[in-house]
């Protein structure tokens, strides 16, 4: 199971890093929670996120907005993720934590550590038996975000 979850996490990152953003929502269940927040907010119990979606359709809308509506300079992410650790399991829902680092590269070649933190995930098998995210809380270590957060983490 662990290696299957490693594969899920890897495929999800690869879709983003290689620019196949349209593939990204497919790693989530129809009903899901995707939230980007920070360690300080998480610890204080502040509920708001930079991105907050409670359906896969909202994730699809975000990708559509990035393609059709929003203006941002050409950039790439590179995810380096650690080995997931399974921290809980109950009736098919598996809780997983995975450290991550995202390096952002801008059009002009400038690279920076854009985000580091931990994914607090809940995964389960979908109807077809594939592992999917029921919940992904992206807890960034830093309160500060450079310029803007367009591409999801």
């Amino acid at each position: 199971m662990l290696m299957e979850i490693v594969a899920l996490s890897g495929a999800c990152s690869a879709a983003i890093d290689s620019g196949r953003l349209e593939d990204w929502p497919g790693f989530f269940l129809d009903r899901c929670l995707y939230k980007v927040t920070t360690a300080d907010n998480y610890e204080k119990g502040y509920e708001a996120g930079l991105i907050y979606a409670d359906s896969r359709a909202m994730l699809e809308d975000r990708i559509a907005a990035l393609r059709e509506a929003n203006i941002y300079e050409r950039q790439r992410y590179r995810h380096i993720v650690g080995m997931p650790s399974i921290v809980g399991e109950a009736d098919g829902l598996v809780a997983v934590e995975t450290s991550f680092l995202v390096v952002r590269t801008m059009r002009d070649g400038e690279m920076m550590i854009f985000a580091a933190g931990v994914y607090l995930d809940k995964v389960r098998r979908d109807a077809a038996g594939a592992w999917r995210y029921a919940e992904r809380i992206v807890v960034c270590d830093s309160q500060r975000f450079d310029t803007l957060l367009a591409i999801p983490l």
Partner: protein, 411 residues
């Protein structure tokens, strides 16, 4: 680029309010003078929320430009503020974002301060065994961090180093004050805090906030979903002194609107698969979709549907700044309304559908003007004055910003 610019700031300012020379965004000497004349000057600066320091001994750290500041709730319940700098040898007195204390103790040599920043004790003041210690004539009351004058308005804490001068309400002016009170009419609650770093001079961001002309042209999402279009009702208010502004947009008429025909911003092909988060709840008993309000130099209050936030601008060098976002709800939000605010968080903020571009466009200008110290921007939309207007197709509020800036800088 850390090099100073060709022209000295002084003496080259064009007449009127419709031209802004680009060196004003690039010259380190201008940034230095702004710290002295504006951030340590007579302006009122947003410091924190009243609810950040609810009880005696609660404190929060913040800043006025480059100056570190402590805000605390004193024994008598008053909210006080002082420079976060020890009177001894200059260390920060407080090292965290906030907390609760009996008094303040500098970590370096344990000098102590009461909650108002008064120096109350000096470690080994009398030395040890009669040796060392401070001179007998050393008067603690003659030493201490600089104190701020503070005021609380609608749960917002503002401060200034100016011992006297106009109060905050009259500085803001009656018209904008009404707009402020419209939103902050009851107890708020923090639901999130984020910092956004922007690769631009702080003035470029504040111009953007006050720029009612750009929103529907830069932010496709605004236009496409008719959150704000120049063709919708509303307008912009600018205080007499230019210090405060508020812009409003009324809900859109349902009918067709071809005023954006052919523009990038009008993307009729774009539809939402889950439009639930656009179902705004009317909570202010009016038809105002969106209200953006600012107080010079660095305070912003946002209402976009049910997405509420205050933003604080902190310059970091001449070509860089931090924007501190505090997302708000009301203490008495129903679960449904709170849930809606969380979803509408997608609209604003560093990742906001209608605001992410604002994080980048200041940098586009900073890079665009990299060789333009001899050139000036053109701020003529809506004429040459900084008066309130019944349209947002104007840069009146931007001109108002420069009216306030030039008064502060004596330019």
């Amino acid at each position: 680029m850390d090099q100073s610019v060709r022209e000295p700031p002084s003496g080259v300012w064009p007449a009127g309010l419709t031209r802004v020379p680009y060196w004003v965004y690039r010259d380190p000497d201008v940034a230095r003078d702004e710290q002295g004349r504006i951030f340590e000057g007579p302006s009122w600066h947003y410091l924190c929320l009243e609810i950040d320091v609810p009880e005696v001994g609660d404190f929060r750290t913040t800043s006025m430009g480059a100056m570190p500041v402590v805000v605390a709730r004193a024994e008598d319940g008053a909210i006080v503020a002082f420079e976060n700098r020890c009177a001894h040898r200059g260390s920060l007195i407080c090292l965290d974002d906030g907390g609760k204390v009996k008094d303040f103790q500098c970590v370096y040599h344990a000098w102590r301060y009461d909650l108002r920043g008064n120096l109350t004790s000096i470690a080994f003041r009398r030395g040890v065994n009669g040796q060392g210690g401070m001179p007998d004539d050393f008067r603690m009351e003659a030493h201490g961090p600089r104190k701020l004058r503070t005021t609380v308005l609608c749960g917002l804490v503002f401060g200034t180093l100016a011992a006297d001068g106009p109060d905050l309400e009259s500085t803001i002016g009656p018209e904008v004050l009404v707009r402020l009170k419209r939103v902050l009419h009851k107890k708020v609650e923090v639901i999130g805090r984020f910092t956004q770093h922007m690769p631009c001079n702080w003035k470029l961001y504040m111009e953007n906030v006050r720029d009612t002309y750009h929103a529907s042209l830069l932010h496709t999402f605004f236009t496409t979903f008719r959150i704000t279009r120049l063709s919708q009702g509303g307008g912009v208010m600018v205080g007499e002194n230019g210090v405060a502004h508020a812009s409003t947009t009324l809900a859109a008429a349902k009918g067709p609107d071809d005023s954006y025909a052919g523009m990038r911003a009008d993307n009729q092909g774009f539809r939402l698969r889950d439009p639930s988060f656009m179902e705004a709840v009317s909570e202010f008993n009016d038809s105002i979709n969106l209200q953006i309000l600012s107080v010079f130099p660095g305070f912003i209050l946002q209402q976009i549907h049910n997405a509420l936030a205050v933003r604080q601008i902190v310059p970091r060098g001449v070509d860089s700044m931090d924007l501190h976002w505090t997302y708000l709800g009301f203490a008495d939000d129903t679960p449904a309304l709170r849930a809606m605010r969380l979803k509408q968080g997608n609209l604003a903020g560093p990742a906001g559908f209608v605001s992410m571009e604002d994080g980048a466009v200041g940098g586009f200008v900073q890079r665009g003007i990299a060789a333009a110290d001899q050139e000036a921007s053109v701020v003529e939309m809506g004429g040459a004055t900084a008066d309130s207007a019944a349209t947002r197709a104007t840069e009146a509020s931007v001109r108002g910003f420069w009216k306030a800036w030039r008064a502060g800088m004596g330019v």
